[in-house]
Amino acid sequence: MPDRWSFKSTVWPDWCPGCGNYGILTALIRSLEELGVDPSKTVVVSGIGCSGKTPHFVNVNGVHTLHGRAIPFAMGIKLARPELTVVVHGGDGDLLGIGAGHFVALGRRNLDIVVILHNNGVYGLTKGQASPTLPLGSKTKGIPRPNLQAAVNPLMLALAAGYTFVARGYAFEGEHLKTLIKKAVEHKGSAIIDVLQPCVTFNDILTPEYYKARIYKLESDPGWDPVVRTPEEREAKLLRAVQKALEPWDKIPIGVLYADETQSTMEERLSERLKIYPALNPSNSPISGADGGPVISVDDFAKAFSDYIVEVKKTQGRFNLKG
């Protein structure tokens, strides 16, 4: 890659003017710049929706997948080629509606992937229907009647699922969000940042003004320390993170709620079982020999699958050549 690589692609972002996604994009690009990642070893994976377009605007590898499926695509990429840095972008509809099962499954695996949740309370690209994070009873301008379904709390869900890095950011707190993304990328294990992202077109309740009046930074409390450094600390810190995640919405904390460094990652668990995994992984392990034939020979085959092979007893019978 050239010395000065622009992490911003040349594709024009077609989001509505004033959309919170711009803030997230800028924070992402700046964090990648400051982390100095190799663009060819970095992959941004997204779902569908306004947020789903993010990879096209970033000058690193980008995989824009299917509605709700960014996490399993990312999982395959990361497991097959663990050297890659993998960052997922998805909307609240994407990650917590259609993709909720995958969202939970990633936490259980603690695979080293960062998930950035564009939380705007609505389904943006399909024009403003209620998303799983829109509070019960809210009537935003895109829906004809007040919301009948209660909101899921993404932070609580992530903590329950086993994410080892859980944070909340705000799209228009760029510096702060950039720092969160950097920390999430540096964290080993599954990381989620719930980013409050105003949808200025469809969500007339959770607006920039709304957030401006309520947001505060966890780091402003000098005693706030979310990092779990020993297993003994885990329970107390988890409980405090839960408390923060449950704070009523008149004051909204942003920052790192929980960062557990003591849990094994899926890569570590795999390496323990598959000793060759760190050196040989699915993407770089040779599959054929010099002659283009399989890497294993017929003798290797017979040895490996000896359980399935019977040595036929010499019979007295006549032999023909039918084989």
Binding site: S40, V63, H64, M75, L79, A80, P282, S283, G317
Partner: protein
């Protein structure tokens, strides 16, 4: 009488060790040099429902089909006798556990009501009462069946005494007791049985001793019948024989073919394949470790296909395995792979649908689901395997096709193949070549969807100094979203026109195989598990003066239009018979759609059980001699 072949059914409750008995029996027979096929039929249930092994053994060939009636029925419980009494031929043998004496059909709780009614009416039409004793005497007197009782209680008692086993431990031997009886009546050398037990239980000396003790007691108990159904000495000459299921040959094929990532969600009858891959995640070669094969049990089929695509983007040979319900969930992902020219292999084991249908029974009713699933048009390749060996080679070849042409490949199999055990020779490694297709040049300026050739240069995610984009939307050469009409038309047609290239480059000998007479009086056409039974059927009919050909279709899509048309040119459409385990016999429609050839006749079976040799030969004969267009066959319990 010297026989060259023997068919048998061994039945009992699910969970009573039938599977072990099947393996031991097959391994003993393989050791002795016989050819075997054994199909296992079972309910969607773990313990208690009726399950059975239907086996055909031959001294002259490796049989690839089953037939009814069988010469020997082995019943470890009353339900087996009630369910299968009609499957045993005149002059056959009934080996049964004496504990089934004096049982009423109405007292067997595991029999479904509809089944009970059906059996009852069969029995009463024969003038037999609904109990085991009258049924056994009916078989003996009206069908000349020889009953051979086995007193397993006596054997349990001796076992318990000698090895200090409790009742539960001893009862686990119920299927092997009957399995042993079979080896005696077949006159097998006890050494072969010992070999099989050793193979099955490995270093477990106690189990070996116990099994051999059982065999000895059973041998004494039925010594008068030793060798009454003895087969001729085997006349095949392989020194090493694989004893494998279809699931296993597919897993072996994938391993030979270089699979490096497999993700799956458990479903019958596909899951065993993934379990086997995980077991062999690292292999030893003379030159060091081979692998790893990373097997991920995903949270659902959607995640399975998505992670497989993700892994494939990094350059790993990646696949999943599923059956109907799971495939349905994967379709959106397959469309993404099609749009993004991403090689993935989907191993699709058909079972009885729709919905969860007959979860543990077979069928071939998903051909169109594989061919036409998904919205929009995109190139895909669909392969179907006709037998265990073909399944092995196809599993490896599927990756080559997927990577060379950058397309999803769907490999169609069925439950019959997946779960049946056969004796088969070892694969010929010289027939397997790994081809990875066109690779691009690394570095800035790389265009993943370069339009200057039908197959764009592929590079993996993570290639040095290279970035690339993918999207499910229509895209430009770089992989960015584009709705430009001209770009749309060029990308769209480039993707689809790969099919022409594929059809041109895949050898005709792979696309379809032809068996039997070259200038036949009639042709059978089919795919998948029909192959074995069809080939044997035309052989049998040929000895009755009917010269037939069987066309086994292997490349289902793109359809081998030219090859097929050439083959059946000159044949009267009414002499072409399509055979399928489905109601619609979809292969006939696929042929018509691609070739304009009208297939005049159809043979259909959709009971969830495989087509048997005898019913196929009868159906073919009656279709050829009569004016009816369609025959439905339905044998089997």
């Amino acid at each position: 009488m010297r026989r060259t072949e023997l068919s048998l059914i061994l039945g009992g409750p699910q969970g009573s060790g039938l599977e072990t008995a099947m393996w031991i029996l097959t391994l003993s027979l393989a050791r002795a040099g016989y050819g075997v096929i054994a199909d296992r039929e079972y309910y969607s249930n773990i313990v208690g429902r009726h399950s059975y092994i239907h086996m055909r053994v031959s001294s002259a060939r490796r049989p690839r089909s089953l037939k009814l009636p069988v010469e020997v029925l082995v019943a470890s419980d009353a339900e087996t006798l009630f369910t299968h009494f009609n499957d045993i031929g005149d002059g056959g043998y009934l080996i049964y556990d004496t504990s089934i004496k004096a049982k009423q059909l109405s007292d067997v709780p595991s029999v479904e009501d509809v089944t009970r009614k059906r059996i009852m009416s069969q029995l009463s039409s024969l003038g037999v009462r609904g109990d085991t004793d009258s049924l056994i005497s009916y078989l003996a007197s009206s069908r000349s069946v020889l009953p051979i009782p086995i007193d397993s209680v006596k054997i349990f008692r001796a076992l318990s005494e000698r090895f200090k086993l409790n009742a539960k431990q001893a009862s686990r031997f119920s299927s092997s007791i009957l399995g042993s009886a079979l080896t005696v009546v077949m006159g097998l050398d006890p050494e072969d049985l010992e070999y099989a037990v050793r193979r099955r239980f490995g270093a477990r000396k106690d189990l070996l001793e116990q099994n051999m003790f059982v065999a000895q007691l059973v041998g004494e108990m039925v010594k008068d019948y030793r060798g009454i159904v003895k087969l001729e000495d085997p006349s095949m000459n392989a020194e090493r024989i694989m004893v494998v299921t279809g699931n296993e040959t597919v897993a072996m094929g994938k391993i030979i073919g270089g699979v490096r990532f497999q993700s799956y969600y458990p479903i019958t009858p596909a899951a065993d394949e993934s379990i086997m891959l995980e077991k062999y995640e690292v292999l030893d070669s003379g030159k060091g470790p081979v692998g790893p094969i990373l097997v991920l049990q995903a949270e659902d089929e959607i995640a399975a296909i998505a992670s497989v695509i993700g892994a494939s983007l990094t350059g790993a040979r990646s696949s999943t395995a599923t059956s109907g319900p799971g495939f349905d969930l994967m379709i959106e992902g397959i469309g993404w792979a099609g749009n993004n020219e991403t090689p993935v292999v989907i191993t699709y084991y058909q079972r009885g649908g729709p919905s969860t249908g007959l979860p543990t029974r077979g069928g071939q009713s998903d051909l169109f689901n594989a061919l036409f699933s998904g919205h929009g048009e995109f190139a895909r390749v669909v392969l179907a395997s006709g037998d265990h060996k073909e399944a092995l080679y196809d599993a490896a070849e599927a990756f080559n096709i997927a990577e060379k042409y950058q397309v999803p490949v769907i490999h169609l199999l069925d439950k019959f193949l997946a779960n049946s055990i056969v004796t088969e020779t070892l694969p010929d490694f010289s027939l397997v070549k790994l081809e990875r297709g066109m690779r691009g040049a690394e570095g800035p300026g790389y265009k993943r969807f370069d339009l200057s050739s039908t197959i764009s240069p592929r590079l993996p995610l993570g290639a040095k100094d290279t970035v690339m984009w993918y999207t499910g939307d229509e895209h430009d050469e770089l992989g960015h979203i584009s709705e430009d009409p001209e770009n749309r038309a060029r990308m769209y047609s480039k993707r689809i026109e790969k099919l022409k290239l594929i059809n041109m480059e895949i050898p005709s000998s792979f696309k379809l195989t032809v068996h039997g007479h070259e200038s036949p009086d009639y042709a059978l056409v089919g795919w998948g598990f029909v192959k074995g039974v069809a080939i044997e059927a035309i052989e049998q009919l040929s000895s009755r003066g009917l010269r037939g050909m069987y066309v086994n279709l292997r490349l289902m899509w793109p359809f081998p239009t030219e090859e097929f048309t050439r083959l059946v040119r000159g044949l009267d459409p009414d002499k072409i018979i399509a055979v399928e385990h489905s109601y619609g016999v979809s292969i006939a429609d696929l042929i018509a759609m691609n070739t304009g050839v009208r297939v005049g006749k159809k043979i259909s079976k959709y009971t969830g059980r495989p087509i048997y040799l005898n019913e196929l030969t009868e159906a073919v004969q009656s279709l050829l001699s009569g004016r009816t267009e369609r025959a439905e066959v339905s044998l089997g319990a």
